[in-house]
Symmetry: C3
Subunit: 431 residues, 3 copies
């Protein structure tokens, strides 16, 4: 089915196709994005009407935009939405006026420290208009001139759009993968998450068998996770064994994750084990460094076992939330590497089990053909992992715990455990 | 009321006034001291008769002393009680005899390693007489001469004197502040504790409102705390949430505290949080380093949540238990600095609460005017402390715990928590 | 009785006497060894018939050997069992054939990296024959020649032999000492364990009184412990408070121990406390480094509180499992030093108790003659250990725990505790 050598190229193509779309919390950009992802996996797309409550929040009006620009009296375009959708502050209300330089400046956002970058700015919950511009271009504006500011946008009673996908497994226990689809033309902090999660869902759906059920969620950040939680809270709390919020996974830099507040959930243990087991340099942040949907998923009353998985965490890399976070920052190669980490998380969860030694004392592996029958220096070492697994299989520890103790990745331990269960030496504790 | 700029000067004056008094376990020196402190705060003074049992101990006879000296046959005074009350061993029985040089030497205490210091020596529980002298002066004594030893003291069926003060608050939960009043003319290891605690009591009594009840105890060390515990054990065990034994808090050196045996009581957490939060260099000792009334308050069957707060801990500074621990070692400025630490302990306890997020997910601060409505680089940081407080307010953690996690002093978090409770975003867990 | 100055010499003599015996899992070598040890302590020797099941294992056929050699066509002996019993692979089946050089080589075990050492090799559970030879001698063999291979051994329906000894004490709680008697002529990894444990048993039996019951087990490794456990599992699980597997305790190198899987059992605490308290350099291994009978005693369903005590742990020293592990590697002096460690383990367990302060507050030691009645600098220090013991005697901590906290060996604390119990200041928590 899925040719893994082909994945980086296909990820790159998908990124190129999704990049120009003007996404926001709501609107046709999100719908178009989910439509394209839905070509790869069978997403369920949902519309939630403006005004729908979600805990302390309310679904906002739907925003759509067709065009926007600023031009001088002589019609010279200072900036144009068609050049880069970051030029317009997200959720700007419509306007068509001639304003003074001073008024324009009050509505112009720039980054003095990055003069060639357009900043990404939004105003979701207060009605405003605004433009974003390279600082280097602001200097050229004539303070004595007037400017036509034009935004052809709409804020209407519409709906918020999100998608989910449940891939069933043998158990009702669920693994959650969440990512967001609400940023306009940016690469690492937008496209990498949905692309990696889409390919992950495709890979999971193609597995011959699944122990767990997998739930994928593609939502606008914050309001989207609040809406999703408000509709599925009881189910998620009852069934989720591990969750991964995936964000900023396309750049070349080191891996990282934001642990849950307690830092000890199953998701924390899995991601940590995988990053160590794959010998990947990585940073373990604190929940104090949170900033994405883990803020909702790990809020006290929700309290799902979830971590956020990143390469360069949002807010820590220079291109973050600017026009420089473009397709040059990410690559299919690196998104495939991040995908590989998440596949190992899945393998770890799929293969994990609590195992128990059937016998008092060590089993006799030799008579089962599992152990060399001549004792010599070195021969004992050859089956060390198998022996260590048996030595720690006490009916309480799972393979992840044993793997941490004995220094063997859980996904390598899983087939050994299955062999020993088949040989009647170990049993699954829950059997 | 209390002008804090004036405190160091008033503390210095109080120290000068209290210094010459000859205090001991019992006797008029203690009464006089408590009388002077009682001019600042309304102390309840208690008399406990000689022979009263206190657990394994018994209140000793009352000791008073009027005069004492050693002189040569020719009437030359070798030492005189009137010059320094440390010259007489505490609880010396009366004597008026002419003795040989050898006999005198058997009753003379000196410090060879500190030749110009008079050591502080007592014999509370075995009837003896003795004198204390600078080692440098002993060399000049004539071994062939005889000496008149004169002590005009009395050991009588009297009483032990102590004082306490309870300042009521909204809750029956009590915070205990204990210090001792049984050392004669010494500065750091005597006057600093009662002076700081007296000013602290005055400050607490003047607070417009108190969440907790505050109990101050001024006692002779060891027998006093045993007597106090024997009279109030059940009450103290039932109501004390944190206790602070205050000793040696007047010198210029670093802060320190002796933790409780477990090291994890509320008092341990509070003092540690305050010293860290105020960024004060300090030493955390072990309960193995105990030596003051924490020995009784933290004994296994008593087991109050109490720490001992010091600058230079008793036994660790060169002047300790000698005539060099005089008014030069302490200053009003430094006693006021120690007072400030204890005020912050009170502020921490007063403001502390277990708080809970009212909502699933994050509350929407923007619609309550608590959060900037435009997202820009940096604006999220501006309300970081508020957001972190909400993120960790899970109905189990108190502000002290949250403050430790998020790196904000609990006394700074308390007003933020109150603002959020008023805004309906948090609730107090106990409400 | 036992003159401790004489012990190293007597240990050396015993080692010299035991060294030449050809021991194995079964057979007369084990019987002869136990017979000699039984001259020092009254061992109970047990025979377990071939075919007897022990959990997942079965007692193998009994192996005995009278002679073996390899010689050339011309009758020149290449190797002879009579020179060194390591020349024959343990459990070799009988053979008397002339074989080619190539066939001989298939049955010849050497150690290229230690050319002058005969390796120790066995084949307990697959019927084979084999010889072991110095690598340096293999070079001289003529590839064109044929060789007579002769082994006069027998594999018969016989029995497995082991011994035990129970030395009763006041309590049914047991301390287990186990060691193995199944290796042929080797010193550290065979004789040191049985010799040290035999002298330890002799010393314990001679104690005027014992708080605990002591169980000594002399078994062939692995199958012996499995057999022993299969016969005594319920009893051992119910009564064993601490166990020590003793192996490789005769060389001059540092001490070490292999902790239990959890690392927190009473045996772990005792051995760690003793090695620290005696200020002996030592290595704490991991249960991952296991390799002796702790593999059975600490297997999940058995789970006895047991550690393995060693000098140089098996597998870590150059002479291990070769003919170089001879009497030069061990000495009576060093075995006596290891014995001393185990005696201190016994002293620790014997003297240990949970103690409780009888009084609220500190007891008044002075009136009981336990405390100097004059307070002076230094006098408090003199009874520090006594005071610290009282301060931490809370009815939950045992002397081992208190000793760790206050930095005093538990075996030094025990007499102090007894003095305080006699003085009515402490009581035993279980009294």
């Amino acid at each position: 089915m899925q040719d893994s050598h082909d994945i980086p190229r296909r990820m790159d193509e998908l990124a190129t196709r999704l990049f120009p779309i003007c996404r926001s919390l709501t609107g046709d950009g999100v719908r178009k994005t989910l439509g394209i992802l839905g070509e790869l996996v069978p997403l369920d797309v949902h519309e939630v009407p403006t005004g729908t409550p979600a805990f302390d929040w309310t679904v906002p009006r739907e925003w759509n935009i067709r065009d926007a620009y600023v031009e001088t009296e002589t019609g010279k375009r200072i900036l144009s939405f068609k050049d880069n959708n970051l030029h317009v502050m997200g959720y700007s209300c419509p306007i068509d006026e001639v304003v003074s330089y001073d008024t324009l400046m009050e509505h112009l956002h720039t980054l003095e420290e990055m003069p060639d970058a357009i900043p990404y700015v939004t105003s979701y919950y207060a009605e405003r208009w605004g433009f974003c511009l390279e600082y280097s271009k602001v200097q050229a504006l004539d303070p004595a001139a007037t400017y036509r500011v034009y935004i052809d946008s709409s804020l209407t009673e519409g709906s918020l759009t999100y998608a989910d996908l449940v891939i069933p497994g043998n158990s009702a226990e669920e693994v959650l993968f969440s990512t967001y689809v609400c940023h306009p033309s940016m690469g690492n902090n937008e496209l990498s998450g949905p692309i990696v999660n889409t390919f992950l869902a495709q890979w999971i759906a193609a597995l011959p068998e699944r122990e767990k059920t997998y739930r994928f969620v593609f939502i606008p950040e914050t309001i989207g996770s609040l809406v999703y939680l408000s509709r599925h809270l009881d189910h998620l709390k009852a069934h989720t064994v591990a969750g991964f919020n995936v964000s900023c996974v396309g750049d070349r830099r080191d891996y990282s994750f934001i642990p849950s507040p307690a830092g000890t959930t199953y998701a924390d243990r899995v991601i940590s084990h995988v990053l160590k087991g794959l010998k990947l340099d990585h940073t373990k942040y604190s929940f104090l460094d949170r900033g994405s949907d883990e803020r909702q998923y790990c809020s006290p009353k929700v309290n799902l076992p979830l971590v956020t998985f990143c390469r360069s965490r949002f807010g820590t890399y220079p291109e973050y939330h600017t026009s420089l976070d473009n397709l040059d920052v990410i690559s299919g190669e690196e998104m495939a590497n991040s995908l590989n980490v998440l596949k190992h998380c899945v393998r770890t969860v799929e293969g994990n089990a609590v195992v128990d030694n059937v016998f008092c004392g060590e089993p006799q592996l030799g008579k089962r053909g599992l152990y060399p029958s001549t004792s010599k220096l070195g021969s004992y070492e050859a089956v060390r992992a198998m022996n260590d697994l048996i030595a720690y299989a006490d009916g309480n520890r799972d393979l992840l715990t044993i793997g941490e103790i004995i220094g063997v990745p859980a996904w390598e331990l899983a087939p050994v455990a299955r062999q020993l269960v088949d040989a009647g030496v170990l049993c699954r504790a829950s059997d």
